[in-house]
């Protein structure tokens, strides 16, 4: 059975399935119950599961995450929604100093199966703090798993896999893709939760990205194909851990790698991939690994987002540079 669904609806159905399958699953966050979330990802769930499973919280991110930790100690599997990327920081201490370390400090006697859903990224023309890509902070933090689905199919399945994970999972939802439709097969589970995936095969250059960037990479690959360049595209899907096998295999074939992300480039996920590939596939590389990122500035006013965010042209400029070696 496959349906054509938006990413928002696919995640909604994944949450619905998780709530139905396991009584211990709870949703909590600002405006998620009555309103169904500002992006309507939790729409309808409070009427189906009630206010004791789908919980509108007071306005306090530190408390949302901190109380989720206590709820997990009590045996629940909380799924927290942070309303926008830029509003995760009031909860940063609870996520990085507490949630990320509690399993370690308990030496395994306690589990913290908490999912933190974060709509993230640009392309929606919003005011400041509403378009950011803070995933690197969390990928940098040991103890957190970090993923980002790029398609409705992944949205539906990965949210369920995240909820089933016994570790905390940061679940970054590319909000500019919420309304894009795709095929969702609700019977056949996809591959492993945190595997990266080749989404387009090619021979000359490898492009790697996650979230909303994947569609930009595919667009760049289309343009390049029309110009006679064959590009392979890999959807990272997981940012911690990173599944390197498909990336290394691809680089061994193409010899060229461009990593792209909306986030600033300095000390980023892209930097990590570049250095790891340089370590593991040095002799396969025909060119340095190149990064295409948001600039190392705060996210600019919305009218400038089209310049700030890497587009297909900027990806192809890097592809040209890689091919010039």
């Amino acid at each position: 059975m496959t349906d054509t669904l938006t990413l928002a609806k696919a995640i909604n159905l994944g949450l619905q399935k998780a709530l139905a399958d396991d009584q211990k699953v709870l949703l909590m966050g600002e405006d998620i119950a009555t309103l169904g979330g500002v992006f309507r990802v939790t729409e309808g769930l409070v009427s189906e599961f009630g206010r004791n499973r789908v919980i509108d919280t007071p306005l306090a991110e530190s408390a949302i995450v901190g109380t989720a930790i206590g709820l997990a100690m009590r045996g629940y599997r909380p799924v927290c929604e942070i309303q926008f990327d830029g509003f995760i920081f009031p909860g940063f201490d609870q996520i990085t100093s507490q949630l990320a370390k509690l399993t370690y400090r308990h030496e395994g006697s306690a589990r913290f199966p908490i999912v933190i859903r974060v709509p993230y990224g640009g392309h929606i023309g919003a005011v400041e703090h509403h378009q950011e890509s803070p995933e690197a902070y969390f990928a940098h933090t040991p103890g957190l798993r970090v993923v980002s689905p790029a398609t409705p199919q992944d949205g539906y399945w990965m949210i369920q896999q995240a909820i089933q994970s016994n570790d905390p999972v940061m679940f970054f939802e590319p909000k500019s893709r919420y309304w894009q439709k795709g095929e969702v097969d609700r019977e056949t589970p996809p591959g492993a939760f945190q595997a990266s995936r080749v989404v387009r095969t090619g021979t000359e250059v490898t492009l790697v990205g996650h979230g909303a960037m994947v569609s930009v990479l595919l667009q760049a690959a289309d343009i390049a194909a029309a110009e006679g360049t064959s590009i392979e595209v890999i959807d990272l899907r997981s940012l911690s851990p990173i599944d390197y096998a498909p990336i290394i295999a691809s680089v061994q074939k193409t010899g060229r790698l461009v990593v792209a992300q909306e986030a600033p480039g300095h000390a980023s996920v892209g930097s990590e991939i570049a250095s790891t590939v340089a370590e593991r596939a040095f002799y396969s590389l025909e060119a340095p690994v190149l990064r295409v990122s948001g600039f190392d500035t705060p996210f600019p006013p919305a009218k400038l987002e089209g310049i700030y965010l890497p587009d297909a042209d900027r990806i192809l400029e890097a592809v040209d540079r890689a091919l010039a070696y």
Binding site: L59, A63, G86, F87, E128, F295, D296, T297, L304, E305
Partner: protein
């Protein structure tokens, strides 16, 4: 929804309330010149018209977002006029009328919500009206820190080098009922009480934090929060511009006089959507909106002024001024240009930064390469 605890100087039908509880505050009104009483009305009407126009501009695609404050003019205009010129104001993001009172050109708000800036106004040129803060509650700590600075100036012999007048300043910080749940806001009250800062916390309880009703944030009236932190607290009818003016004036005077912080909960109502992206029909009842509609701050105040003998001429002059501002804002919006791409890299740091500089140069060269390609049919 309304509360017996709330100080009200003007009933919803525009009658002055003189009783034991208001006697403390009425002198603030009695000593106001008539022209200032008229300013209250002018500012409320003009800013409501501005708000409506900005909403129209948003619907017409001229703004990315609009944040309406219709219904909250009484709370904002009264408290805004209560601040002395040297006072510092730390707003949240809905205090458009306060900004205009302090001298902020409303076009700065239009530009911000069109996506041209993150604010960018210069507080020293806008009556010390600081930038909007979109991260809920954060400005409460900045306000407290600023007020600590004012207090420390006195203790340290003005080490910050402020002018004499500025050492007599107080701080007024705005936030919402939703924000009252944030840790930052509680922490701000703790510091304020601990250091007895010269500041007034002005909570606009507009009864909603997007779709979440105030009851989810607090089981007690919010002004009792202030009391719990050891800060003298008052609840007011926030749709009564006179109560807002008088109680804030008293609070700022107390703060300025070294009596420590004060806390005001203004009961008001967000008549419109949270922002242009919101649909309040999903979470609230028409009855409630109608209840508050009948307590409108402008109608009430107009009745009061008419009762004092203010005539039609004034009201039609104000209506004209409101139309003029709306027309001017619309016209100026149509002439707004997108910022240059170099704006992305400006002011990330105060001093030069090699990475930012390199990226700015890279972008310039990259953009120039497109210009070179033009006309040669260079594909992309």
């Amino acid at each position: 929804m309304s509360s017996d605890a709330a100080i009200q100087l003007l009933t919803p039908d525009g009658q002055l309330v003189s009783d034991d509880r208001t006697s403390e505050y009425l002198p603030w009104i009695e000593k106001l010149p008539e022209s200032r009483l008229l300013d209250f009305h002018r500012q409320m009407v003009v800013m409501r018209r501005f708000d409506t126009e900005a909403g129209n501009l948003q619907r017409q695609g001229q703004l990315a977002l609009w944040i309406p404050s219709i219904g909250q003019e009484g709370a904002q205009v009264g408290s805004g006029y209560a601040a002395a010129p040297q006072d510092h104001i730390f707003p949240a993001y809905r205090e458009h009328a306060v900004g205009r009172i302090r001298g902020l050109d409303p076009m700065r708000l239009i530009e911000m919500l069109r996506g041209l800036s993150h604010g960018g106004w210069v507080p020293s040129e806008t009556g010390n009206f600081h930038l909007y803060t979109l991260v809920i509650g954060s400005q409460s700590l900045h306000a407290t820190g600023y007020a600590m600075g004012i207090a420390l100036d006195k203790l340290n012999g003005n080490a910050s080098g402020a002018s004499d007048q500025d050492t007599d300043a107080a701080v007024l910080v705005y936030y919402g009922d939703g924000a009252s749940s944030q840790g930052d806001v509680s922490e701000a009250m703790i510091f304020a009480a601990s250091y007895q800062t010269p500041q007034v916390f002005f909570l606009q309880n507009n009864h909603w934090a997007i779709s979440v009703p105030v009851e989810r944030q607090s089981r007690t009236p919010l002004y009792l929060r202030g009391t719990g932190f050891g800060i003298p607290s008052v609840q007011i009818d926030g749709n009564d511009v006179l109560a807002s003016y008088a109680v804030t004036s008293q609070g700022l005077l107390d703060a300025r006089s070294g009596r420590g912080p004060r806390y005001i909960e203004a009961l008001t109502y967000r008549m419109g959507a949270h922002t242009s992206s919101d649909d309040p029909s999903k979470y609230r009842e028409n009855d409630e909106v109608a209840y508050w509609g009948a307590r409108d701050p402008i109608t009430r105040y107009e009745a009061y002024l008419r009762g004092k003998g203010v005539g039609d001429d004034f009201f039609s002059e104000v209506a004209e001024e409101a139309e003029d501002l709306a027309a001017e804002v619309r016209a100026r919006t149509m002439t707004l240009q997108d910022p240059p791409t170099t704006k992305i890299f400006e002011h990330v740091y105060t001093d030069a930064h090699p990475l930012v500089d390199a990226q700015r140069d890279w972008l310039a060269a990259y953009e120039a390469s497109f210009a070179d390609d033009a006309g040669e049919g260079a594909g992309r």
